[in-house]
Symmetry: none
Subunit: 201 residues, 4 copies
DNA sequence: ACTCACGGGACGCCCCGTTAGT
DNA sequence: ACTAACGGGGCGTCCCGTGAGT
């Protein structure tokens, strides 16, 4: 199926155009025409791949969620010589991937925030977000459980609960950084400090 | 003088219509026509009080910010018999006012989040938000300083910094509650737990 | 009737605001609101003196026509020592008053042209203009007749006809000057040259 | 390629609708909706061919200018048997094309006048007009030069200058005819008489 | 597979004229 | 005499989705 590949990559390149529009202007800056222009193709072509705007946005979201998930699952190991990295380091690296610490991550963050806050008024989107959120939460909870097994995280903490809290924390910091209330460094430091309250090691 | 109309209350009632639209649908659900319909007026009348949409939104924001500020400054004192309430209790009550714990606060939260998101792509609005944010931050930092004077907050903490972090935390929780990732109770509990890490008393 | 005076001067000052708007922006730049703003009064007040926009424009036109007529009837006599100025000089002075040779006359010219060209599509206004035009034509024809009596204008010329032609000529030059096709000096020179073809003296 | 629609003819037919509206009502009678109605199309269709009103008006102007230019360049030769027509006859025929002597030319005249008036307050349009004016002026100056070579036009006349004056004259007459101050015949006669003053033959 | 043509709806803004109320 | 309030209509622009056509 030689065409399929083209199809997929075409959709991907359209999604990129969506992201760029979202990064500056938010969700409401995304119009089929602008996307087409941004992707360097005709409006009709965009509509061919995404019959409706909703599908386009849904796809754009899925793509960015997947991308973030990939990055989060395999953060640059802080200490590659250690075959079994310390849970705290893994956690910090993971969460740092969610913060807008460089240009790439800022783009992702802006997109994520746009979808997230849109979900606050769109139950349908909220449902979709819940899945991605659950996965992330599990990832984090796992590290906390590893920490508990290693004795560096108090056993009385509920990993799932703490993971959920951590994610809310990160999202709050992300938004504040984007708005300009925090510097990215402050945000990372705040996460680091918070981890100190979880890890007794 | 002409007809005798309370300009202020008129504008306020228009702002209410704006809020209702924002609560379900976000900022992009707000159109002059919808606002007029929501307020039970003609479009011309709305424009009489708010010549441009920007002014309307600016006013709507100022109003909700003021309203939240009022509520935050005078939270229901947890223990009215104590003339000098404990900083931790004040803080918890203050921050709880920002969470969508009941219908009123949910409305405010949704509106705040909508503006916050928009600020991520609108520097002009971001600037306006910064002022409100600074006030809130000071309020919280003050309580932390009080705690330091009383010896219940470690002196090595920077009040301003911690306050800023707390606000980001609260905003993150707020969004997650609105999206449905958290229950309101979880959010409040998370705040409570976090305060435990600040207060040693 | 002490109020009447106020009434009249008020209307005059409103007309001035109309002119200023017309001078830059043409007739379509004139709106009741802008006029009110330009005159430094409330919209309601303007509407009090001119219930409808048509009346306002009609008045503004009458005023400018009258003003031009006054100036044209009493041009600065080119040679005041001569009790009976030469018809050619009178004519040149008269016609020069219609050209946009200085700021004041440019204002009048712009207004006149705006009304004139509007009359091309508004029979009602055209009728009104005809009166003013007839007066002007008579004025000029009179000078030509004086010239004929003095023997400096050929008798075979029809004064009325030549007068009408002269006015068309002046209006054409005026428009072209305003548009920038001519300089004001060129226009005046062109008139002067044309008079040479009429006066044999 | 899709539907096969003659873009050019479509745009032309829209321009026709613009002209009809301009002929009665001037430029301000032209609205996108009225044009659409006049052309028997939907508003969306008009916008498909002219994204903005400015482009529509610019095109409408260019078209009429071109049309007039064509007609002026190839006036019905007064005496086809003469291979080298006399400059005076050519000039009269040329200038007569600019006067509203029949229905077609009246339409053109009204449109031209409308644009001309607008140019008096719109420098941008004035610049565009200047080009067309310059071409016309050259055309006329050429005939005058031919006359000079033939010895029927005095050598002391500046062709360019006289051409410019002639055009102003014609425009003035045109406006006056449209307003009703002149009959078309009077206007043509006035031109004829004026040419007598230029040609000594 | 891809494109253009097209209709229709919405939006922010502007403006006029009327009227209720000093 | 003068004002603010108000309704309603219009305008230019934008955008989406459909479908006829290649």
């Amino acid at each position: 199926m030689p065409k399929k590949v083209d199809h997929i990559s075409r959709r991907a390149s359209i999604a990129v155009a969506v992201w760029q529009l979202m990064a500056r202007g938010g969700l409401e800056a995304v119009s089929m025409r602008h996307v087409a222009a941004g992707a360097g193709m005709s409006l009709g072509q965009v509509q061919h791949y995404f019959p409706t705007k909703d599908e386009l946005l849904a796809f754009a979201y899925e793509q960015v969620a997947e991308q973030v998930a990939d990055r989060v699952r395999a953060p640059e190991t802080p200490d590659p010589t250690d075959e079994e990295p310390r849970p705290r380091d893994v956690l910090l690296a993971t969460l740092a991937e969610l913060l807008p610490l460089d240009e790439d991550r800022e783009l992702d963050a802006q997109i994520s925030v746009a979808f997230l806050t849109r979900a606050a008024v769109s139950p349908e989107l909220a449902t979709r977000l819940r899945k991605a959120h659950a996965q992330l939460q599990d990832l984090i909870a796992d590290q906390l459980r590893r920490g508990q097994r290693r004795g560096v995280v108090p056993l009385h903490l509920e990993p799932a609960r703490e993971a959920r809290t951590l994610l809310a924390f990160v999202d709050g910091l992300t938004v504040h950084v984007l708005v300009g209330h925090h510097t990215p460094e402050d945000a990372e430091q705040a996460i680091d400090d918070y981890l100190d309250t979880l890890f007794t090691g």
